[in-house]
Structure formats: C-alpha cells, structure tokens
Symmetry: C2
Subunit: 305 residues, 2 copies
C-alpha cells in the first residue's frame, strides 16, 4: 500500500490568492490524517476534492496563525455537516482553550466528540498508535513550541513462502498464522524447521516525517533516519541564511543537508516565503545537495510506493 | 461624494470554493470600514485589490464563525505588513478575549495599537462619530447577540448661493463661513437678510444600513427609515420561511418587506444558503415586493450616488 500526500498549502506567513498557508492531507494504511490547518484549509480540501469527512486525526505543529487559524472553521464546518464521529486534535498546550473559547463565544459547540491531545514535552513522544500505524512527535526548533510528526507504518506479519510450505505435508492451514507470526515449525519426528525457511520478510515499512517550522536542527536526524519521505520547510534560499537563523526558519540548502545526512529516500520542500517569485530556485538549490528533492505544490498529490 | 460598497463575501455558513462568508468594505466620506470578517476575508481583499491598509475600523455583527473567523488572520497579517496605525474593532462582548488569546498563544502580539470596543447593549448606540460620519448599532434578532450597523453621513454645511451673495456688496469673503453655518446677515442699515435667501440646502446625506444576521424583525424599521442603501440578509426563499423562523434568519420576501416598509432607496440582499444553486430566484422573489433590489455578488462594487 502506498503513502499518499496531498499538499493543500505550502506557503509561509499570510494567505494570498493562490498561495495558501500550511496544510497537508496524508493517507497511510487507510488512515486519513490532516497535518496543520492554516486559514482557508477547508476550502482547499473542497477545491481538491479531498474526502475530508474521513479525517479523524488532526496534527498541529505549532500555534502560529499560518498553521492553525483554519482549524476552528474546519471544526465548525464538521458540525454543520452533521459529523458524528470522533475528531482528535493533537497540538501544543493551549490549543484546546483557543478552539473551545471560540466555539463557546459563537454558541456552536460540536455535537460530535471533539478530543484534544495537548503536547508539551520537549522529547519525542508516541502520540498515536494502532495495529497499523504509529505517530511520534519530532521536537523542532522554532520561535514558539513546535513539533514535527513522524508517521510510521508498523512492520506487518511475515509472508508465507508457499513453495517451501507445500514441501511439508504436515503444515496445515491452521498453522499459517503461527508461521506469519514468526514461529518455527516442529515436525512430528521432532525436527525443527526454522521460520526463515518457510516465510519471507514482510513488506518494508513506509514512513513520513513532517518537519515545519524549524531552524536548521540536525538533532532531528536520528529520528528521521531513512524515512520514505521527509517534508522539510525551506522558507528561504541560501542568500537569506542569516534571516533564516534570526527567524528560526531554514533555507533550501539546509533542508537538503538534513535530508542527505538522514539518508531519506525523498525530500519535499515547502513553506516558501512570498518574497521569492520563482519557486524553481528552491528546487535548484536543494537538488545540488540532495538529488531526490521535489517542490511542494498546492493541489498536488505525491505517491510514495 | 458617493457611498461605495464592495462585497467580499455574501454566502452563509461554511466557506466554499467561490462562495465566501460575510464581509463588506464600505467607503463613506473618506472612511474605509470593514464590516464582518469571515474566514478568507483577507484573501478576498487581495483578490479584489481593495486597499486594505486603509481600514481603520472593523465592525463585527456577531460571533458566529462565518462573520468573524477571518478576523484574527487579518489582524496578524497587518502585523506582518508592519502596520503602525491604530485599528479599532467593534463587536460583541467576548471578541477581545477571542482575539487576544490567539495572539498570545501564537506569541504574535501586534506592534500597532489594537483597540477593542465591546458591545452589549440591546438598544441602539452611537459607537463612532467624527465631523463627517456617525455609526450606530442596529440591534437585531438572531440566535446569538447581534448588531447591524447604520453608517450615516453628517449633514454638511449650507452652500452659498453666489448669485444672491453678489447682490449684496456688504457681504465679504470673511462672512462666508457664518453664512455656511446658517447665520443671517445684518446690513449696516439694520436690515436682516435671512440665511435662506443667501444659501442653499447642503447635499442630502447618504446612509447605509447593514442588517445581518437576523430573523424578520420589523423593530428595525424606524432606525433604517429612508436609508440610501440597506443590506438585509436573505438566507432562504419563501419556501423555507419555517426554517428561517427556526434558525432566526430571513427570506428574500421578508428582506424586501422590511425595505418596502422602511422606504429605503436601494436594497442589497445576500447571505444566501448553499442549498440554492440559482441566486436569481432570490432576486425575483424580493423584487416582487421591493423593486429596487440588487443581489450581493462577490467582488462587486456598488456605488450609491
């Protein structure tokens, strides 16, 4: 199964015509995750025909407006659409008060269960887990408390090597699950057949790391090592490295350097400053340090096989 | 001078592609007023090239999301654009806490003076006044505390009737201001010349009444009597009058009935429910009760001479 990322907004600071603030829709193992929710995200979800009623988990990196000001509107729209299923919001401490105050003042509390999971740890945390997927925070370095998020498929069960299995008449269908779970098989004569002789490795797991907003912060490298895809902010080009340092953002070169050192398979860059008209300059700069770089683009869906 | 109204959003409930929630930009006597500020308003201001740095006063009718969720983003954008001049926000009690909490949590307090004028009276109030314009609240009947706003030019000074003035050699330039102020002129022989013989009436004043959201509420009629233009919400057609009553909204027929009974010069209707695809039905219904009706339309500027 593929990892599917739809970019809803990939620009920094203020929303403009055809330049939306950060939001992404991630499909992984039948989960539909929304990451960040700048103003206008709900319209972007409609514009790109994203089935947003499927979203059950929203992850907010930090409380700067261009990452969160669209959240209360989306929550309210779910109410108007008669949503019934739970909605989980993960974000920095304060996000619950921010949203609930607005719902209270507009006298429009949700009819569906709205559950907040407030984050305050400066260490990576496992914040979501089921049988298929895990989500961990990636503490970042920005002007306010900020987390990236690491979405990881869990390793599936081993696959039966049917040719090998059929060689042993004693192995029956009811034994298959034990083999998938990694257990050896013991013949009636007492001989042990090693699991490895009967099964194949499970499909390799895919993973997605979302890292925005952040200064150049190599501390994240061990956590994002060899991920299938890394989204790393690249607000500036290298000519504004000084400004990136002051504002705790990154340059395209820095994003690519992180990708290179973390040996990720693909790098997506975004969060472009409005000062640059030609986005290709970001791609050129990043590619000279990390070849497998692609530009985030609003409405574009990337499939990582 | 004309009264100029630019419609930024005229749809109800959730923002959709090409259907924005309520916001209007009003130009009256060199004032630039923003009325309501649903999500996406700042992008609409850019889309229609409204010089939004000129806005100094924002009037918020009520705290439902489709009238206010764009406000915090606009306030933040003014900060990023290095605004220095004062910004005044008029709206229901609670609006200050709603905005300041978000600015606090995003650690992005404005560098410019941001002044809130919270409203809670159920009677009409004069909330803004200078030498040219007055703004009054128009208490409305909706599910939460809501005010419309009445924007009124002040009566200017009388105009000199130069033919009459020149007939009296004794009247000098230094007397003109007294005449404009309405004073009679006394000749040296003691004869009084009535001001009316020397001056003409000032230009008639123009006025604009914004009334949204509200149920059918004839109590507003005395306050909006004979205004130059009335914006009245028309969320539903007459076939959904029952739904209008329950949700405390109005039908096109009811908006037109208010306009007719208030003898206004022009009626603009908007706040259309997304259930109706054909907006012309609103116009047809309203026009059969009040001929001078026009449909609000996003990006459209109406000039009332």
């Amino acid at each position: 199964m593929s990892l599917k990322l739809t970019v809803l907004g990939c620009h920094s600071a203020t929303p403009r015509v055809n330049a939306n603030p950060t939001s992404q829709f991630l499909e992984i193992k039948n989960h539909h995750f929304l990451i960040d929710c700048g103003e206008g995200t709900q319209v972007q979800l409609r514009r790109y025909n994203v089935k947003f009623s499927k979203i059950k988990h929203i992850f907010i990196s930090h409380l700067h407006g261009d990452h969160v000001f669209g959240l209360v509107g989306l929550i309210s729209t779910f109410r108007l659409l008669n949503r019934e299923s739970e909605l989980h919001v993960y974000g920095p401490k304060g996000i619950k008060e921010m949203i609930t105050l607005q719902l209270k003042l507009s006298n429009s509390w949700t009819h569906y269960p709205l559950l907040f999971h407030e984050l305050s740890s400066k260490e990576p945390e496992l914040i979501f887990e089921d049988e298929k997927v895990e989500v961990h925070t990636i503490p970042l370095d920005h002007r306010v408390y900020t987390n990236g998020f690491l979405f990881k498929e869990k390793l599936g069960e081993r696959k039966l090597n049917m040719n090998a299995v059929f060689n042993h008449k004693e192995i029956e269908i009811c034994d298959y699950q034990n083999l998938k779970n990694g257990r050896d098989f013991i013949l009636k004569n007492g001989t042990t057949i090693k699991n490895k002789e009967l099964t194949l490795d499970p499909s390799p797991v895919k993973s997605y790391a979302f890292c925005s907003d952040t200064s150049y912060f190599p501390e994240i490298i061990p956590q994002i090592k060899q991920v299938t895809a890394l989204y790393h902010e690249a607000t500036f080009l290298n000519d504004k490295e000084n400004l990136a340092t002051i504002t705790k953002h990154s340059t395209a070169k820095q994003a690519a350097t992180i990708a290179q050192n973390a040996e990720v398979k693909n790098l997506v860059i975004g969060h472009f400053s409005g000062r640059y008209k030609n986005k290709e300059l970001f791609l050129t700069e990043a590619k000279s340090f990390f070849k497998n770089t692609i530009l985030a683009e609003e409405g574009k869906t990337f499939v990582f096989e």
